[in-house]
Amino acid sequence: MQNQLLQQGVELMLYGMGTVLTFLVLLIIATTIMSSFLQRFAKPEPAAKPAEATKLSGNDDHLIAAISAAIHKYRIRHKK
């Protein structure tokens, strides 16, 4: 009886661990396939950010002028 219980435990361990490993390996395969498929369609988000920053660089002089004017005004207003 007790040996039978232990045997059931060993069986549960083999089946259980086998299932967990198999399932997650399948998930790895599925995820890899999905990613390689989808990467053709969508560009990753963070990569887009530096591109935007370079676009702005043309207006640098205007931007710096505007910012320094604003800072100047702010300083005058908050002097007291």
Partner: protein, 434 residues
């Protein structure tokens, strides 16, 4: 004078049993650990307080109407119940209770109705337990909330880390064997279902542990939930010694390559892919992983921000309160003050330790085989316990090399551990419960 006496007989002090008193002290200890030491306070405060309420003598908050009727001890009530259960002879309320437990379905309902007709009601906590845990609802709703708080980005960037989440589940099954070994040695008395429910503590995932325990071993639920949440709070103490013992200084210093950025499209599709795999191969894990995927899809799809916000804040908080109180209602003396509880606490920590060790060893193996370096420290995060286990990996890594931030790398195995323990739970339910 008579009135004074009857008031005294009704008082809590007169009716307090020693077991209830000890349980109240245990619950106060839980409250102390939660409030003063910060042990998973979100759960241990309601659990501890629920335990206090459940052990108030004569209030019967954790009992059903029939149990309350029996506990009232009035001879007329007992006679009526015995009659409804077709019990010819009985000596005390206990006999009636056992008859009620083993009665056929129709007599069971009859006894319940009799108790209700006599004016006895189900206790408040008993109702909470039935609605939230016995029905399976609360752990699943919490799992949906966890899903909507989970970012699968690090996992998608490095899918191999799913293997670490799988390896760390070995702790669960080793503990099942340990529990059955204790039974075989005659030290404890666990059935296969009990052992399976205890093993799940090693999954380091509260809702999963409660869900499995409510299906396989409702009697042990209180002890299992308390053990699971206490050990989750102790992750920063339990894991580092094991991690240091199994790795060399050089391995701990390994710097991993930066993760690639993940597009939104991939994040939206991942929960659907996961759900399809569950539907195809492991339907018994569908309740847990289904709710998890729903929560994650709501988070990532970006068109139902209101729903996602509710699931990860309001809904999960409400559910946590009722889940905690319901778990607390199972902290009654006759079920908790038992040698089994000691066994569960002991096996729980073994489960944690083995899971951590297997995760680290698997990561070492992967580091040997894989082209890109893998720091073995992230393996320990495979036991889930999000995000605590990942933070521990990060901290131990920083100790070895102050420039080495492993947090994002460890989040991959960490969420893989959640999937892994849900899968393990599904296997347990279908193999043991079915």
């Amino acid at each position: 004078m008579d009135k004074l006496l009857s008031l005294w007989y009704d008082s809590g002090i007169y009716q307090m049993a020693s077991g209830q008193f000890i349980m109240m002290l245990v619950c106060l200890l839980l409250l102390y650990l939660a409030i003063k030491r910060g042990f998973e306070p979100l759960l241990l405060v309601p659990i501890g307080f629920g335990g206090l309420l459940a052990n108030i003598p004569a209030a019967g908050l954790a009992f059903s109407a029939v149990e309350n009727a029996i506990n009232s001890g009035s001879p007329d009530v007992l006679q009526a119940l015995a009659q409804s259960l077709q019990l010819a002879s009985w000596e005390s309320g206990k006999d009636i209770y056992y008859a009620y437990e083993s009665a056929s379905a129709s007599l069971h309902v009859l006894a319940e109705q009799t108790a209700k007709d006599l004016g006895f009601l189900n206790g408040m906590l008993y109702n909470f337990y039935n609605i939230s845990i016995a029905s399976g609802a609360a752990p699943l709703i919490i799992f949906m909330g966890v899903g909507s708080m989970t970012d699968f980005g690090p996992l998608l960037a490095n899918p191999k880390t799913l293997l670490l989440g799988a390896a760390a589940q070995f702790g669960i099954f080793a503990t099942v064997l340990g529990a059955l070994g204790l039974t075989a040695l005659g030290l404890m008395d666990f059935s296969l279902a009990d052992a399976a429910a205890i093993g799940i503590i090693g999954g380091a995932d509260g809702p999963t542990a409660i869900y499995v325990a409510s299906l396989l071993a409702p009697d042990l639920l209180g002890a299992i939930a308390v053990a699971a949440y206490s050990y989750m709070a102790l992750v920063p103490l339990i894991q580092p010694p094991i991690m240091r013992a199994l790795t060399t200084e050089k391995e701990r210093q390994i710097v991993m390559v930066q993760l690639r950025p993940i597009s939104k499209l991939e994040k939206v599709c991942f929960p659907l892919v996961l759900l399809i795999l569950v539907a195809l191969f492991l339907p018994s894990a569908a309740p847990l992983l289904g709710m998890f995927c729903l929560g994650n899809l709501m988070r990532e799809c970006g068109v139902v921000d209101r729903l996602s916000d509710t699931t990860q804040n309001a809904l999960i908080n409400i559910t946590t309160i009722f889940l905690g109180l319901s778990v607390g209602s199972k902290l009654s003396a006759d079920k908790f003050l038992d040698l089994k509880t000691l066994g569960i606490l002991l096996l729980g920590i073994v489960a944690f330790a083995i899971g951590t060790a297997c995760g680290v060893l698997m990561a070492k193996l992967m580091n040997k085989v894989s082209k890109t370096p893998i720091n073995p420290l992230i393996g320990s995060a495979g036991v889930s316990a999000v995000p605590m286990a990942a933070r521990v990996s990060n901290r131990v890594g920083l100790n070895a090399n102050p420039q080495n931030f492993l947090l994002m790398h460890a989040m991959g195995p960490n969420v893989a551990g959640v999937i892994g323990s849900a899968v393990a739970a599904g296997v347990m339910i279908s193999l043991v419960g079915g």
